[in-house]
């Protein structure tokens, strides 16, 4: 599980946005924006982290129960999958 190379995370006015690179049209329809925790998880994936690394990062950074963190990670990955950001 890793991120496709043609996406990049950018911060604009307190919002983290996942931008597609190289496409002729910058499509804001359905483009992902991430909150702080989403942006942190993105960076973990950027550094080659796997599902367990995401879980560890989330529980280390936030006061969240293991099963709740697991659900958040799955939801995060699902969103990324839907947005076509993951190469699995």
């Amino acid at each position: 599980m890793k991120l496709k190379e043609n996406f990049v995370l950018r911060e604009v006015a307190d919002t983290w946005v996942v931008l597609p690179l190289g496409e002729a049209t910058l499509d804001f329809n359905g483009m992902l924006s991430l909150n702080e925790s989403g942006a942190m998880l993105w960076r973990v994936l950027e550094h080659g982290g796997n599902r367990q690394a995401l879980l560890d990062a989330l529980t280390a950074e936030y006061d969240v129960a293991q099963d709740e963190a697991q659900a958040d990670v799955e939801s995060f990955l699902q969103k990324l999958r839907q947005a076509g950001c993951l190469a699995e």
């Binding site: 950018r10 604009v12 006015a13 307190d14 919002t15 946005v17 931008l19 496409e23 002729a24 049209t25 910058l26 499509d27 804001f28 329809n29 359905g30 483009m31 992902l32 924006s33 991430l34 909150n35 989403g38 939801s75 995060f76 969103k79």
Partner: protein, 152 residues
């Protein structure tokens, strides 16, 4: 985590301008009812492209008013300045210049259906819709008058 809605676009303007400056197009869903019946909020979206050398009557212009507000309306007159008006409006906005202009609509999506602004059917819509504005305005006011006086 959430999807981007138009409300956020103001804050994303640096990205939009950056994309346009790099010659890319930008697609987003506009907000409001001023471009009805062509653009329905939450359903339809537009593709903005960098400004051409010359803007023409019936082009849909994305511009910034002097008060900072971002607007997407149709050019209905080109002279020394541009006059714009939403398809669902009857009062034109005069005195817009190249300084206000940011981008122009080159295509749009009616739901998921792609439509080019070069389509003959779309061009016909532009002309007929604009030319019928006095009739439409009269009709709208008549309906309002009837409702008021018939108590509906």
């Amino acid at each position: 985590m959430r999807e981007i809605h138009f409300e956020q676009l103001e804050s994303l303007m640096p990205l939009i301008r950056e994309g346009l400056n790099a010659g890319r197009s930008v697609r987003f869903s506009p907000r409001g009812i001023s471009m009805l019946p062509m653009l329905r909020q939450g359903i339809d979206s537009v593709v903005l492209s960098p400004l051409p050398e010359q803007l023409k009557k019936y082009d849909i212009l994305f511009y910034q008013r002097d008060n900072g507000k971002y607007i997407l309306h149709r050019i209905v007159e080109v002279g020394e300045t541009y006059t714009c008006m939403g398809d669902n409006q009857f009062v034109p906005e005069h005195g817009l210049t190249d300084v206000n202009a940011i981008a122009v609509v080159t295509a749009f999506y009616r739901g998921e259906r792609f439509c080019s602004v070069k389509s003959p059917i779309y061009r016909l819509y532009c002309v007929l819709w604009y030319r019928s504005r006095h009739l439409r305005h009269f009709w709208q006011r008549g309906i309002r008058w009837l409702r008021r006086h018939l108590g509906r």
